[in-house]
């Protein structure tokens, strides 16, 4: 404990950071004047940590006192967090949108336009690009998610990273990149125009590349990093094209300008729906890349090559949410109730379809994964797909002037984002805890000579089992997280998932025939989610240990438990609480307040549950119950039958999870080896061969083509030059041969030359 006390002392260093915002607040400053702290602090500390870490690499103070920059990073993030909370507080206090204006004009320029008088510089309509902030409920929610989770994950990472011997003296890289990543997300959420959104979006792409490739010497990590960057880059490029189109349509990329009246373009022209829809689809492709949706999903599982905090960061706090945020920003364009452009239903349908397909596919693949982080990765993909489906349905509703339903599912989808982020952040940290402790136990068991035992994989759930008693906090956290993801009634994700599934079906019943597919897919996925999340938990924590080292596992690393506890509480209670406060309406912009507006708490609970089950429609209510049945009953029970089991004799888990382990042993034990060896399972193991397909396509097209191009350049284009050169040399040798050395030849040639010239002249002049 003394040692731990010393560790906590390190935290004293962040107190000055924490004091900054309260000080500013106390001087009576306005939070909107200090939003830049959220971005600037991490940016400055990114450079500071990166450079200082390299200069003082291995230095005693740097390593022990500053945790190789981790403390500085945490401090910077605490500034961001406190500034964000300040901003949120003010926002909730003032109830309304908040725009800072452009503190500086980043790029100013003119545009030429054509009219009957010819070309001239456009006098109005087109504006340059500045930078400021734009806050509404969506960005406030995301800002909180990002700053809060980043802070917690950084906290967790200090414990996780600095106790891993393989990271010797390179953690400054991690922390620097980590806070830059965070900065990217903060900036993206705050930005008041599409270009700056894109800029921070790309920064996140870079950081994901850097962090996934943190263990750069591992070929798989280097490869995964490259894959992540390139796959998202494909999306980004389309996103950029979308931006270009938007600028052309509206003459500005500022949210304030564009959202003011999306049906009127630059110079008062009516916006062409087809054009705008194409532009938005381009944006959506970008979102698909970033949020790892089909068909640009291939990078996400590989991204598990990064350290576990990075996975938490990418999957919960930052990157994947970016895509959702972007799609959420499309609502004003299609909201016909509010100057939206008519005739863009297809957009919502496409988004919903992509979501449905991804949700189902990812859940299916998650069935067969044995790597604890991979299961979570596919779960992320699947849950994000839910949100996309919900947003797609929302867009469809909005465009059909079904504002109320649209707003509901829109808010529900965003609420799901919140729930998922909290749960998934915790799940990843918990899985990190498991991996970390298993790894330590393994090292401990083999006395550090793990160099000879590369085959051991601390992430493989087949090496675990029965950890519930060894890692009580982790097991509890993971249980709550899984429940939230599965959608166990009243816990976190339940509130939002029910809305998404129900409303998607509602849309189908109300004329969106094309939504049947996604609706069915996400319904099925609900059950599948129940199965694979339970499977993961049971495989890890329940049953008898499958490996001797489980006995040596202890929860002992400092820094790791705190965030798990905090997030467990939020996951377990936060969803319910926020739902009661009407967060769905608030997020969709229908309500200005987060408050209980029914007379009693019970009324409010019933009201919110009705939101989810939509009492006025019997069909939808049926769907709601089906969802619960599938996700709560069928999935977990099947998982328990196959993977469940009670702990070893004498082991005792905490009361919070004890019931689960003992319950899981009640459903018997079914052997699924046959199924696991089937061809279908094989295809799932191979991620349905998408990666292979892409690699094959690249290997067969671009690579040979580029090699050909290189050959072509060296031998044809430059070959022409070389040919000229060699022909000149050849001609030179030939022409020098004419000089035979014999004087009479010279005379002869001169005579012949002269005569032929005379003849020529004679011929010419007639």
């Amino acid at each position: 404990m003394g040692e731990h006390k010393q560790e906590w002392d390190r935290l004293l260093l962040i107190l000055p950071f924490l004091a900054i915002v309260p000080y500013l607040y106390s001087t009576g400053e306005s939070s909107t004047d200090y939003w830049w702290l959220i971005i600037a602090t991490p940016l400055v500390f990114f450079a500071a940590i990166a450079i200082a870490g390299q200069v003082w690499n291995g230095d005693e103070v740097w390593v022990n006192r500053l945790k190789e920059g981790g403390i500085l990073g945490l401090g910077a993030l605490s500034v961001s967090l406190s500034a964000a909370i300040w901003l949120i507080y003010d926002y909730l206090d003032h109830h309304g949108h908040l725009e800072s204006g452009d503190p500086f004009s980043w790029l100013s320029f003119d545009v030429l336009t054509y009219d009957s008088d010819g070309w001239s510089v456009a006098s109005s309509g087109f504006s340059g690009i500045g930078f400021g902030i734009y806050l509404d409920a969506v960005s406030i929610m995301l800002l909180f998610v990002a700053t809060f989770l980043c802070f917690l994950i950084c906290w967790f990472a200090i414990g996780y990273m600095t106790t891993d011997s393989i990271n010797d003296n390179s953690n400054h890289r991690f922390f620097a990149e980590f806070i830059l990543f965070s900065m990217g997300m903060f900036g993206m959420v705050l930005a008041d125009n599409f270009l700056w959104l894109f800029i921070f979006w790309e920064i996140m792409g870079l950081c994901s590349y850097l962090l996934i490739g943190f263990y750069y010497w591992k070929e798989s990590a280097a490869y995964a990093a490259k894959k992540a960057f390139l796959t998202t880059r494909v999306g980004d490029v389309f996103l950029m094209i979308g931006l270009l189109m938007l600028y052309d349509i509206y003459g500005s990329l500022d949210f304030a300008v564009v959202f003011d009246d999306p049906s009127t373009g630059v110079g008062g022209a009516a916006v062409d729906a087809a054009m705008l829809e194409t532009a938005l689809l381009m944006l959506f492709i970008g979102a698909v890349g970033k949020s790892a949706q089909f068909p640009l999903h291939v990078w996400l599982p590989d991204a598990m090559e990064g350290p576990t905090p990075v996975s938490a960061l990418i999957h919960a706090a930052t990157m994947v949410n970016a895509g959702l945020y972007l799609v959420a920003r499309m609502v004003p364009f299609v909201d016909v109730h509010n100057h939206g452009v008519v005739g863009m239903e297809d957009l919502g349908l496409i988004i919903a379809w992509i979501g449905g397909i991804t949700a189902f596919m990812a859940a299916a693949i998650a069935f067969v994964q044995n790597d604890i982080k991979k299961v979570l990765a596919y779960s992320t993909m699947s849950q994000l797909a839910y949100i996309f489906t919900g947003l797609g349905a929302a867009l469809w509703f909005f465009n059909h002037d079904k504002h109320h339903a649209g707003a509901l599912v829109f808010g529900g989808a965003l609420f799901h984002l919140f729930n998922h982020a909290m749960a998934k952040g915790m799940l990843f940290m918990a899985s990190g805890s498991v991996i970390h402790e298993v790894h330590h136990a393994h090292d401990h068991l083999h006395h550090g000579d793990d160099h000879g035992d590369h085959d051991f994989d601390p992430q493989d759930m087949r090496n675990m089992g029965g950890l519930a008693s060894k890692l009580p906090v982790t097991a509890t956290a993971m249980m709550f997280g899984s429940m939230s993801i599965i959608g166990i009634p009243l816990i976190g994700g339940f509130w939002s998932k029910e809305i998404i599934v129900g409303k998607t079906w509602y849309a189908y019943f109300n004329g969106a025939d094309a939504l049947l597919g996604p609706a069915l897919l996400i319904l099925a996925t609900a059950g599948m989610t129940g199965f694979y999340m339970s499977r993961m938990w049971f495989m890890t924590f329940a049953g008898k240990p499958k490996n001797e080292l489980v006995d040596h596992v202890h929860e002992e690393t400092p820094w790791i438990k705190t965030p798990l506890v905090i997030l467990s509480i939020i996951t377990a209670l936060g969803g319910f609480g926020l739902a009661l406060y009407g967060i769905v309406d608030w997020l969709s912009g229908d309500a200005d307040h987060l408050s209980i507006h029914k007379a009693t708490l019970l009324d409010q609970v019933i009201y919110e549950l009705e939101h989810a089950f939509l009492p006025e429609d019997e069909q939808v209510r049926m769907i709601g119950w089906t969802t619960i049945a599938l996700s709560f009953i069928l999935g977990p029970i099947m998982a328990a039958r196959i993977y469940g089991g009670s702990l070893k004799e004498g082991e005792q888990a905490t009361p919070l999870v004890h019931w689960l382990t003992s319950l899981s042993s009640k459903f018997g034990n079914q052997n699924v080896d046959d199924l696991a060896n089937s061809q279908f399972a094989d295809a799932l193991q191979n991620r349905l061969y998408f990666d292979d397909l892409y690699e094959w396509a690249l290997g067969k097209t671009i690579i040979p083509f580029s090699n050909f191009a290189a050959w072509f350049d060296a031998n044809v284009i430059d070959g022409v030059i070389k040919q000229i050169e060699s022909n000149s040399v050849l001609g030179s040798v030939q022409i020098r041969r004419v000089t035979t050395g014999s004087a009479r030849d010279y005379i002869l040639m001169a005579a012949i030359g002269a005569l032929s010239i005379f003849a020529l002249i004679w011929g010419v002049s007639g």
């Binding site: 545009v111 800029i199 010497w217 280097a222």
Partner: protein, 537 residues
């Protein structure tokens, strides 16, 4: 002189001092010769820094107090009293800068000390550094003179120090490379010279004209004349001259298909040489194209826009694809320069102020980024004795600074936001979409290709390698202990990194005046041509 005629001062000082430092050791008495040799390196550096200081002072308004946004089209600041050089044919020493040329001058003044710093330990430093100083004079001269004869003189003068830099300090195949570099670009520029002469004999300002010929080389007067009735009578001849100029400038830029001198020259050149070659010399092409070809023949530029697109697109896309097939780091970086320079033509072809400003900023940003790339590649050559991608792995462990600079440089070059290159790219792209619509898909896809080759090259050099403490060292190391870059390489790269970030985050430092210039440029020249040629969106 610094106060009254700063441009002449910063042009001639490096030339004179560099030449003196080169020649003095051979004609001065022995003791003085030794002394000169000893101080040549630091003295060159001192002069280079002084010139950088003066140039920065010019920018910040410390000298002359210039409002850069207030310069109207065709007006030049710091213009001197013209000095007659050759009266018979009307050659004058006229210097002046505007928003088109000044960023280039500043870039040159900045890059010279940096490249000197990077190669601070070059062999025969008492020749190397003065040569770079001479290079500085020649390069600045190209950007500041406003007399086409003198412009051409400086244009070719840059070849000579570069020829020696490649020939004496270059790689194994430096003979071929230096010859090819010189002859290739010389051939193109003599064709350009014909174009200049055709322009020359159409000039008519009697007050400037040479006594023998009755014509003059004064660019300002030519521009004024061109904006009236067009400098040259006859559209056919105008187009022809435009094409001749294009050949000269496109080769320098270089644009596909006249780019093949560049990879050879770059691969063989010493680091400082590559840095200057990529950083400034390529920009001479773009600068000259805008300053002469577009300004004086706007109609031809409008007529030949499809050609510009074709060239730009070919450079951009084809250059990127060829990059992917390269196995030599420097070659790859060289082709990436080809690819990026394509964007300049595209930016001009958009005929939008935004596109032209983007092209200008591309010139500037690429002038910061590509030297960084070449400094990194040079450091690989220096410390690992090879440039083969894939002959080593996991270098990041041995050379963390190098890996860091490489990472940043590579990212900047592939257009990562908040780094200088992105600003130019996005500007050109926006303008490109406005003018050409879906054709934008090609440059956009190129962004992906660019990412592919850059990431692959990093993966196969600084990353991978299994055990972090060992990595895979190239055979060329001969069991040498791998080292990180030296302090001076590091310092030089740091400057470039800092500027890349600075201009990525705060592009408006130079962007505003470029954008301003572009708008005025469109208004004064191109817009008339577009209207008269009946260009419609």
């Amino acid at each position: 002189m610094i106060e009254s005629d700063p441009l002449t001062f910063i042009t001639l000082t490096p030339l004179v001092v560099g030449l003196a430092l080169l020649v003095l050791p051979y004609i001065a008495p022995a003791s003085m010769a030794d002394f000169t040799r000893k101080i040549a390196r630091s003295f060159s550096m001192g002069i280079a820094l002084a010139i950088f200081a003066i140039t920065s002072a010019l920018f910040l308004g410390q000298i002359g107090n210039i409002d850069w946004l207030d310069i109207t089209q065709g007006q030049y600041v710091f213009q001197n009293e013209s000095v007659i050089l050759v009266e018979s044919i009307g050659v004058r020493w006229v210097v002046g800068v505007d928003a088109l040329s000044f960023p280039m001058v500043w870039l040159t003044a900045m890059l010279i000390p940096v490249s000197m710093l990077v190669e601070w330990d070059a062999k025969k430093g008492h020749i190397f550094h003065p040569l770079i100083l001479i290079m500085e004079g020649a390069l600045i001269g190209v950007f500041v003179v406003l007399d086409l004869f003198v412009f051409y003189v400086f244009w070719e003068l840059t070849l000579i120090p570069m020829f020696f830099l490649i020939l004496v300090w270059g790689g194994d195949d430096r003979r071929y490379a230096s010859m090819k570099f010189f002859i290739y670009t010389f051939t193109a520029s003599v064709l350009m010279l014909i174009g200049i002469l055709v322009m020359y004999f159409n000039t008519g300002d009697a007050s400037l004209a040479g006594t023998l010929t009755g014509h003059h080389f004064d660019l300002v007067s030519m521009t004024a004349q061109a904006s009236g009735n067009g400098l040259i009578a006859g559209e056919g001849l105008r187009h022809f001259v435009w094409i001749l100029l294009l050949i000269g400038f496109a080769t320098k830029m270089p644009s596909v298909p006249v780019h093949t001198w560049l990879p050879d020259a770059h691969v063989q050149a010493p680091t400082a040489g590559s840095m200057l070659l990529a950083g400034v010399m390529l920009k001479m092409g773009a600068y000259g194209f805008l300053r002469i070809a577009v300004t004086i023949f706007p109609e031809s530029t409008v007529v030949f826009t499809p050609l510009l697109i074709l060239l730009g697109m070919a450079s951009l896309v084809y250059g990127a694809i060829v990059c992917m097939g390269q196995t030599n780091l420097k070659r790859m970086v060289a082709y990436s320069s080809v690819s990026h320079m394509g964007l300049i033509f595209l930016g001009i072809a958009t005929m939008q102020p935004l596109g032209i400003a983007g092209a200008l900023f591309m010139m500037f940003a690429h002038g910061i980024i590509s030297p960084l790339l070449f400094a990194v590649a040079g450091a690989f050559k220096h410390h690992y004795h090879t440039l083969e991608i894939g002959s080593m792995r996991g270098i990041a462990h041995h050379s963390p600074w190098l890996a860091g600079h490489m990472m940043l440089g590579w990212m900047a070059s592939l257009g990562l936001p908040l780094l200088a290159g992105f600003v130019a790219e996005i500007a050109v792209m926006i303008a490109f979409w406005m003018t050409f619509g879906w054709l934008v898909i090609l440059p956009a896809l190129t962004l992906i290709i660019t990412a592919v080759y850059y990431l692959t090259s990093m993966q196969r050099t600084i990353f991978e390698g299994g055990d972090p403490h060992v990595g895979v060292l190239p055979d060329t190391m001969h069991r040498e202990e791998p080292r990180d870059i030296t302090w001076h390489e590091n310092a030089g790269m740091f400057v470039l990194v800092a500027l890349t970030v600075l201009f990525g985050i705060l592009p408006f430092i130079f962007w505003d005046m470029m954008s301003d210039w572009s708008t005025e440029f469109m208004l004064e020249t191109l817009i008339h041509a577009m209207n008269s040629q009946g260009v419609k969106p």
